[in-house]
């Protein structure tokens, strides 16, 4: 029988299979950040151990850092201590750290790929659920807890049970104004926020093949929002093209050898998956969430479902979500007034996302009564945005361009959406309080966020694409 992409990588990394238990899986790259690593280093110290393979660990500060005045010491004491602790731990253990002020600093899932650290065929972990992002390169990448971070620091291995495998095929052409964020929001709304729990998902099909690396990352990034352990896409010319010449990508002969090896990474034709799903790209509309988990999504032109259309057992949590969001069953979502626009997070803060936003807002202004925060995913993205003049477009539109970090995606720093306010966000979670206590979140694509910034309301972006001289299509 044929082998799946997942299996080809997994079995190459099994050091030991525990009898009737999980496998000890060797980890090629381990990303760490300030929030989920201190207790792991603490545990290591207690055992009198040092980091086993420091060269395979890369650190950055992202979750808890301010996005203004990053050149100054962090004001908030606890945040500062946490970031300082990371510096100490990395120094003591000889770990490469891209901390605040470093030209490579940024959200961990943005910098790994852009520096070429993330490569096909690797096993990659990080104490963060959106580690699934790196799967876009044809890697097995998944989030782990702090005890597991400690395991990897101590042994470069993690104990994991082999997940079941699912393949999601998206075939055909996307409609105008529909981008990768809409694909993944559509998939999650279809199979639910727990529909892939227990599975690792491979995304395939012509619509996925046609996506850029950035767009593929957005899809894999949100695999966790349907419960999947991770998501992955087989590497191809698009992948190699993206990686070529990046800081830590192989060079010269090593590059040729690597590409030859990477080309063997695909699911064989006769490979069998535990579950397979087919989706027509043409069915997908620009999407938006209306509730308090990422599975509660509808077309931006749709209406909030009526509770009568739901199964009995789902009604209570559905009504609770609507109450939190201040929405009525059956209500149209287009035209809903919003207060904040957040363009950022490891889902949509890459240069291509900022270009998409710029393509819509160029020459326009934001609505008077909305605050628009653009938080680039990394220093590199920030730099490139400035080089391309995107910062000027945002400035003219009245947007606030901040410095890299997780920011209002999880509201750990001061970037919080006030209670009761509506935020249209390119991030990945609309949980209660995720963007600040009692804040209300609508998850959308960068295009839809851009349209909302201009009108101050939930808007179908195609209105702007039609009048825009510059087509956003070739940016997808």
């Amino acid at each position: 029988m044929g082998k799946t992409l997942f299996d080809k990588i997994w079995y190459k990394h099994v050091v030991e299979e525990v009898q009737a238990g999980p496998s000890a899986l060797y980890i090629d790259k381990h990303f760490i950040h300030e929030v989920t690593s201190p207790q792991a280093f603490g545990g290591l110290k207690k055992r009198g151990l040092k980091v086993f393979r420091p060269k395979q660990v890369v650190a950055t500060a992202d979750h808890n850092v301010p996005t203004l005045n990053q050149h100054l010491p962090i004001k908030e004491i606890l945040s500062r201590q946490q970031v300082e602790q990371l510096h100490e731990n990395c120094a003591e253990n000889d770990i490469e750290l891209y901390g605040l002020g470093h030209p490579y600093q940024g959200i961990v899932h943005v910098i790994g790929p852009e520096l070429g650290i993330t490569q096909p065929g690797m096993t990659i972990v990080c104490g963060d659920s959106h580690t699934s992002t790196h799967g876009a390169f044809g890697a097995i990448a998944f989030g782990i807890g702090t005890s597991e971070v400690e395991m990897v620091l101590a042994t470069q291995c993690v104990l994991q049970s082999k997940p079941k495998l699912m393949r999601i095929n998206v075939e055909g052409e996307l409609k105008r104004g529909v981008v990768s964020k809409d694909i993944i929001l559509f998939i999650i709304s279809t199979i639910s926020s727990s529909g892939a729990t227990g599975y690792f998902v491979e995304f395939a099909g012509s619509a996925i093949r046609n996506l850029s690396m950035e767009a593929r990352m957005t899809i894999c990034n949100m695999s966790i929002e349907m419960g999947a352990r991770g998501g992955m896409i087989a590497p191809d010319e698009t992948t190699f093209e993206y990686l070529k010449g990046r800081e830590f990508a192989p060079k010269g002969q090593a590059w040729n050898d690597a590409v030859a090896q990477w080309k063997t990474l695909f699911s064989d034709e006769d490979a069998v998956f535990d579950k397979e799903i087919f989706i027509e790209a043409a069915d997908i509309e620009p999407m938006i969430t209306y509730g308090t988990n990422p599975g509660m999504g509808i077309s931006v032109n749709g209406t909030v479902p009526l509770s009568s259309t739901l199964e009995e057992k789902d009604r209570a949590s559905y009504l609770k979500a609507l109450e939190y969001m201040g929405l009525e069953p059956g209500a149209a979502i287009t035209g809903k007034k919003i207060d904040y626009v957040f363009i950022g997070s490891c889902t949509n803060s890459r240069i291509e996302d900022l270009r998409l936003v710029a393509s819509v807002v160029k020459g326009k202004k934001k609505a008077d009564d909305v605050h628009v925060w653009v938080v680039p995913g990394s220093k590199q993205v920030e730099k490139q945005a400035i080089e391309e003049g995107i910062d000027k477009i945002f400035e003219a539109a009245g947007f606030e361009l901040r410095q890299p970090g997780c920011s209002a995606c999880l509201a750990m720093n001061e970037d919080k959406i006030p209670a009761g306010k509506y935020c249209i966000s390119t991030s990945n979670r609309n949980f209660e309080g995720r963007q600040g206590p009692n804040a209300r979140t609508f998850l959308v694509s960068p295009l839809t966020a851009a349209a909302a910034a201009i009108t101050g309301r939930v808007t179908d972006v195609r209105r702007f694409l039609a009048e825009s001289t510059e087509s956003a299509e070739n940016l997808m």
Binding site: K12, A24, I144, S147, M151, A154, G198, D283, G302, L410
Partner: protein
């Protein structure tokens, strides 16, 4: 942290909610600590208090109801979804729970819980319903969870169900072993692996495929259509 668990017997706290995500269990703003201790006081913080104020408990939230106390937390399906923060498991354990009962867990939470000797017991939807009904009707309802036997029982009626647990993890729980000790014992193998690699992994493929190929099915798969 108490290591090793086997029999846990006692009353339960019924949290009748589904899709409880780790952002609710412990909101991000409380993740600034660099130790594992003390998260219990902020467990379910935003569901527990109004205006983020401990002087204003939300009366209708279950943890604020003095009738319900115990070492067993019972919750709706898809418990622990969302962020990988282990702080969620620490908070639940630190608050005083040793067991969570639900009909479905998010993968990362399940691992995190087990690594902290917090037992995630997965029961059927129907048994979960029964537990909720019994506990909500009578807060003094006692439940017994037995790791060795892999059973969960409503003591008053004797109704019980078996639950699954990975045999390796079961040994760890019963004996207080942790994964790091185990992995450290493999150091030699890991070093060999690093130099020689798993070049010929074919034997691993074959073994696995023989085991699971029969279970695999559904080659035609499901076609999803939108319901806008």
């Amino acid at each position: 942290m108490s290591k090793s668990i086997n029999i846990i017997k006692g009353t339960a706290v019924p949290l009748a909610m589904e899709n409880v995500d780790t952002d609710q269990i412990i909101p991000a703003r409380f993740l600034k600590s660099t130790s594992r201790e003390g998260f219990g006081k902020n467990l379910f913080r935003d569901w527990r208090y109004n205006n983020d104020n401990e002087a204003e408990p939300k009366k209708d939230f279950i943890l604020n109801n003095p009738s319900f106390i115990g070492k067993i937390l019972v919750a709706g399906k898809n418990f622990g979804c969302g962020s990988s923060r282990e702080h969620a498991a620490w908070a639940i354990k630190d608050y005083g729970f040793d067991v969570v009962v639900s009909s479905f867990y998010a993968d990362i939470f399940r691992n995190n819980a087990l690594n902290n000797f917090l037992l995630p017991v997965q029961v059927s939807d129907s048994f979960l319903k029964k537990i909720f009904a019994a506990v909500q009707a009578d807060a003094s309802t006692e439940i017994e969870v037995n790791v060795e036997e892999q059973t969960i029982k409503l003591l008053a009626t004797g109704e019980e169900e078996n639950f699954d647990i990975n045999p390796y993890k079961k040994t760890c729980l019963l004996n207080g072993y942790d994964d790091i000790d185990y992995l450290l014992s493999l150091k030699g193998k890991i070093e060999t692996f690093e130099t020689s690699g798993q070049e010929d992994a074919d034997h691993l493929f074959d073994a696995e495929y023989k085991l699971i190929s029969k279970e695999r099915s559904n080659p035609n798969g499901n076609v999803y259509k939108p319901v806008y």
